[in-house]
Structure formats: C-alpha cells, structure tokens
C-alpha cells in the first residue's frame, strides 16, 4: 500500500538536502519546528495548566531579556558551534568522531595547566593566551590523531576508539583535579587566578577605559556592548573558524579529498588520493578545533577545570553537525536554536518553579520533530493503488 523509498541523490558533495530541492527541505524543517512547538505547547498545558505562549515568552526573555543574557547565549552558542565545526571534517569524511567530548576536555586541561603554572610568570597576557590556545589545540589534536592513525593503518573501528578516548580524558581530568585542587582537600580546582585574572580572556576594551569615555555618546554604548564584552573574543574566534571551515570544506583541494574519501575510499584511491594521509590530516584538524573549544570553555567562560567542562557538548555537537549536513553556516542556526532551548528551559524552570525535567521534555520534543523531519526529506512516501504485496 505504502512505498517508502530513498529520494534520488543528485547532489553528492554540496551538502544539500539530498534529492529534495533544498528550499523544500528547509520548509519541511520549519514546519517540523512549528509542529513541535504546538505539541510541546499542548503538553505544557496538560502538565502545568500554563499558557504555552506565556511559557515561550518567558523562554525568550530568559535568553535575550538583557544584554548580559544575550552575551551568555552567544558565548555558549560559540562554544557549541566551535565543537560542531570541529566535527565537520571528520563526519564529512564518514569518520565517526564520537570523541569530541574528550578532545574538548584535554584542550581544557592543557589550558588550565597553563593558567595554573604560567599564571605567576612574567609572560604578557596576549602571548600567554596564544600559548594557551596552541597548547589546547595540540592536546585536542593528539586526542584526535590517535584513533585516526589506528584507523588508517589497521582499520580499527573509530566509533568505539574515539568513544573510549573520552573515558581516558575524563580519568585524566580526575587524576589532575586532586593535584590542582584549590583549596587543598576540596577536590575542586576552583576559579583559577581569581584575583589576578591571568589567562582569562578579558574584554579588548576594559571597563575602566569605557568608564573614562563620554557616557552619553552612542559610540561608548556600542563599544560597551561589543568589544567591551569579554565573550566578544570567543564569538570572534569561532566566527573566523566557521567561515574558514566552510571554505576549507567546499572550496579547497583538502575539502574535496575529504568528501571523496567519505563517499568511497576506493574512488579516492582510484583518483590517486592518499587516503591514510587524508584521514590523519582531517582528524588532526578536527581534534585541534575541538581542543580550541576546551580553551574557550576554560579561558573564556568557566576559568576552572572539571569533568563537566565539556558538559556533554561534544555529543550535542554531533547532532548539530549531522543536522547541518556539515554546512558550517547551517550549524550556526542549529547551535543557536539548541542553546536557546537549553537556556530557555532553565528560565521556565525557575520562573514557574518547575523541575528542569519539564523543560527537558520540551527540548526533547523539538529535537524529535526536527530529527523526524529528516526522514521526510530523505525518503519519499508513495501511495500505490496495488494492495497486498505492495507494502
């Protein structure tokens, strides 16, 4: 009665919704989001008897209500996006890098180590930050390259390998926390360099400098809300990586090689590409960017290290990268939405004194609908008149 068939895939390497015209694809996704809002609304009403529109309003206010909230949203968005962009080359190569969580964590560890042991040194702030960023990238790259080498040389299963590397990263963090704990015995590292703020990403224009400017001038306000914000640098770094990765994947020879290896290793070999080299190179890049995510989390937000530093973002980023079909600009939209949901959920939980679980239900419903919509984008459903054997 009903045929389900995969839509014919015309566009292999462009990262577009396969088969369906891409605008139709986005239309389907939009409808899915709207439908999910309606269903969540019904569930909100059924459980809490609250007006769903009011609940959505509280969510929006909780995320964008003040400039500071908006910046916190941008900061978290930047971090999730950074990790997602880091995953893009690996996933496009069909290398299932489940290890972003660990790569972020070791990047964070390297950053924290620099902050703790070089915080008292005479290295000026900017070179120190650059050093920290490179240390984080090196650590993340090392975490990414190990499974890549094994995959390239011995064809090991990268899904399990990268997953297991996460546990090593977590255990490594647990090993260092008691060594770096502050104060002794507390088993937390605490805010590193809380007084000196050494190794913290600080605003380009300090609050002191802003307070000396003409307070009524619109330029002062503009400065305060852009370069005067410490998270501005996080956003700037990630924006650069996002644009760079887009062109790397879509416009460079490396990007083309990644796509070919992802579609068919045999084709790649036939085209005289060095598959092993491509795998190792791409995973080094992937790990390095995820490691930089750890730098942003530690130097640019938390200023501490714990096993929760990556906070599951390494796994959420997989959803982002996958939904965006490795298009880094689409990733911006999807991470923006996911971070909005996460922050909005906390806002409604506190406003209506609900448990966080209720808001997680809403997030879950929205994700389910979006992921479900991929089915309709990838597959065609044909109703045939023949009965009996057709199904």
């Amino acid at each position: 009665m009903i045929h389900i068939s995969k839509r014919v895939d015309f566009t292999l390497f462009k990262g577009k919704a396969a088969g369906l015209n891409r605008y139709v694809g986005w239309g389907v996704r939009l409808i899915a989001v709207l439908l999910s809002l309606v269903v969540s609304g019904l569930i909100i009403f059924a459980i809490t008897r609250l007006n769903p529109l009011k609940v959505y309003g509280v969510m929006a206010n909780g995320v964008f209500g003040t400039p500071r909230r908006t910046w916190a949203w941008l900061r978290d968005l930047a971090l999730l996006l950074c990790i997602s962009v880091g995953l893009a080359p690996a996933f496009k190569m069909r290398f299932w890098n489940i290890g972003a969580e660990g790569q972020v964590l070791v990047g964070g560890l390297a950053t924290a180590a620099c902050m703790i042991f070089l915080g008292g040194s005479s290295i000026p702030s900017v070179p120190l930050l650059i050093l920290m960023a490179f240390a984080a990238m090196a650590a993340g790259a090392a975490w990414g390259v190990v499974p890549a080498v094994f995959k390239a040389r011995w064809n090991t299963n990268e899904t399990l390998f990268t997953l297991m590397m996460n546990y090593i990263a977590i255990q490594l963090t647990l090993f260092f926390i008691p060594k770096w704990e502050h104060p002794k015995g507390s088993n937390t590292v605490g805010l590193i360099n809380a007084v000196t703020n050494r190794g913290w990403i600080t605003p380009i224009v300090s609050a002191d400098a802003i307070s000396k400017m003409d307070q009524n001038a619109w330029t002062t306000q503009l400065i305060r809300n852009t370069v005067g914000q410490s998270y501005f640098i996080n956003v700037l770094i990630v924006a650069a990586i996002t644009v760079g990765m887009y062109f790397y994947l879509c416009r460079s020879k490396h990007g083309y090689e990644i796509a070919v290896v992802g579609q068919s290793e045999n084709t790649a070999r036939y085209a005289a590409m060095n598959v092993k080299k491509v795998i190792i190179r791409s995973m080094t890049l992937s790990g390095a960017i995820c490691g930089l995510g750890g730098f942003l989390a530690v130097a640019g937000a938390d200023h501490t290290i714990s096993t929760a530093t990556a906070g599951g973002r390494g796994f959420v980023a997989i959803i982002v990268a996958w939904l965006a079909r490795f298009n880094t600009f689409v990733m911006v939209l999807i991470s923006a939405m996911l971070v909005f949901l996460e922050k909005g959920a906390i806002a409604i939980a506190s406003e209506f004194s609900l448990s966080n679980d209720v808001s997680n239900i809403i997030t879950g419903i929205i994700l389910l609908f979006i992921l479900g919509s991929e089915f309709f984008i990838n597959y065609e459903i044909k109703f045939s008149k023949r009965s009996g054997k057709g199904a």
Partner: protein, 411 residues
Amino acid sequence: MKKFLAIALCLVMVLALCACKTGNNGKDNNDKIKVGVILVGDENEGYTAAHIEGFKEAMKNVGISEDQVTWKYVIHENAECYDTASDLVEAGCKIIFSNSYGHQSYMVQAAQENPGVVFCPATGDTANVCGLPNVVNLFPYTYESRYVSGVVAGMKLKELMDNGTVTDPYIGYVGAYPYAEVVSGYTAFFLGIRSIVPEAHMDVMYTSSWFDLNKENETAKALMARGCVIIGQHADSTGAPSAVEAALAEGKVAYSVGYNIDMLKVAPTAALTSAQNNWSVLYTNVLRDFLDGKTMQHDYTAGYNDNGVMISALGSSCAPGTAEKVEEVIAGIKAGTLHVFDINTFTVGGQKMESYVFDFSTMNADYTAVQYEGQKIETISDGYFHESVYRSAPYFDLRIDGITELTDTSN
C-alpha cells in the same frame, strides 16, 4: 537603543536601592526585598533538600513570601553559577544565597561587580579574607552534632564490649575527601566515641565523592571486612547504612551512624542516629540582619545553643541509657563545660597540643604566593581548639592519634 536604556535604568535602580538600604527600617521593606537562591541540586537530592527546607522555614521566620524568592535549581559549579548570580542581580535580588562550596568563587566574582548586593555562599570559607564587605559565609557547628552522634555510637560499643560480643573497639569511617570539613567531622565523631570507650581506634576511607551510593556501600563493606563494628560517614548517600543493615541481617555485628538524613528508613535495625544540620537557623539569622539593615557579619554560625545542629531520632538498637547520656552531653556543650576539641582528650604524634597557629590566608593557583592575605591565629586557648570561631567553615585539620587514614586521594 532600548537595551542601553534598560541598562542605564537598571543601574539607576540599583543605585537607588543601595541608597535605600541604609535607611531600611525593618519590616516595612520586607515585602519589596527580592531574594535569590542558587542550589546545586533540587528537592530530590538530600543535601539540597535540607537547604530548601531550612530556607523555607527561615522565610516564615522573617516574613518573606514565596513570590519574593527566585529559586534556581541544579546550577553547576562553573560559569553557569556566575551567570545565574548576575541574572538574579538583574532581576532585582538584593541578597543571593548559594548552597554548594564550589559556587563560592563564582559568587565572589559576582560580588566584586555588584557591591550593592549581598552574596551568601553557604559552606564557603573566603568571606573573611577576600576583602569584600558584601560576601557572607554560613556554616553550622556540625562538629557538635558529630560529637554527640559519636557518643551514641560509643554507648553502643560499650554495650557490645560489656556483653562480650566485641573485643576490639574498631570503628570505620566513610569520608568523602581529606578536606578540613571532613577531618573536623570525623575527629569530633571519634572523640565522642572515645569519651565512652577510651581504647577505641578508627580507620578512615575516602570515596572521592560527596555522593556515590555504590562507592559508599563498597567502602562500608571493606571497612566491616577489616573488623569495624561501627561505621560512621561523611558522604551524602544511604550507601553505607544499607551495607551495614545487610551485614547485620547476615549475622555480622555492625552498626551505622549517618549524616544529613535519618537513616532508619534504609537501616531500621543498624542505624543508631544521624548527625544533622538545621539550616533554617543560619538562613534566618542572615536574612534578619539583612532586613534590619544591620552591617552583615562575614561569618554566621550556630551550634546546639542556637538549635543550629541536631541528631536524628535514636534507633531501636541504641544501648539503654543513651538518651540520658545524650541529654547530659548536649547540656554540657550548651553550658560550655564540655568542649569537643578539649586538648586533654587527644594527642598528635604522641604530643599534647598546647598551641596550633592556623594561617587563614588562601593561596594562588599553583600555591606559590598568597591570594588573599588572612590572619595567623592561635586556635588553641583555654584548653581547647576553637573550631568555627575565627571562620565559619571548619579548619580543624590536625590528624590525631588513634585515627588512621587508609587512602589518601590527595597524593
């Protein structure tokens, strides 16, 4: 431009309210004050549940209604805590509490930026040294209730030895971390036992977690396997008491003393009692001083004298005469005739401690320089160690004779 206007307005409002505070004349302003509470868990988690209960009680005591309080549940000990605290400030909260130690540094960060708001990280230890007038720490005299729960265990141990069931008065303690709060707690517990059974000795094993049901369960089993007959704990789950209950049911001689919550539900025969904190007293005192417009102290504490601490109902297995003995000990503590850390009751390295100077400074990240300069204070005078007097958070970190730490995760 709207946003900028909003910031400007917020600033004006904050400043205006700051100006109001000095002229705050008590109850009249109570219904306008907004309060923020940052919690590491929610009501499903024992430690936070005790704080929520205590805070609601305190709200009743000082006349603050539910709609004046913004609760923030499950706030992690990272930038999320700083975000939440800043958010509460923007929402107009004038006093903000947090309940986990790890929240403290983020609260201090927010306190630096918002001098007009009072930040109260409970169980924290830097209010006194960080140089900010708007940071307040609160910590009850938990060591007192630990001591009393030790007395309960000591009575049981004495009974077991008198009737010949037990010959070696061997105690086990399931600790979270080798942290001063834990050291102070198990030492008080041990001294309580030794006040009844002088020849008692104790082993401490760490779980490296404040809450880990399985690990606490296994640690309790390991201690019982070594021959421990009383299992105390400074960890938040019911893991240890349920292990002891199971062992008792199998014919082993073992009893449990819990922490935070009444353990009789999970260990109806093995649980003797639990040392508990009554957070409502501290929250009430802080809120009352704040509402009355008083200068805030840096440290708020409360012991038996102020109902700040207690032990849970005695279990059916307790030795006869326990209740009377407990009454007597509590009366001694209240009257000031009994001191938990009396220097005549313990030795360190075979020596009686006549003097112990504690440096309250905190160090920087790699422990090479002082971060916050604190005083160096003689903590022993009048024949006893003055715990939680010079700072609310415990600082008794002496390792006394008779107690062995079996695992040390800090090395």
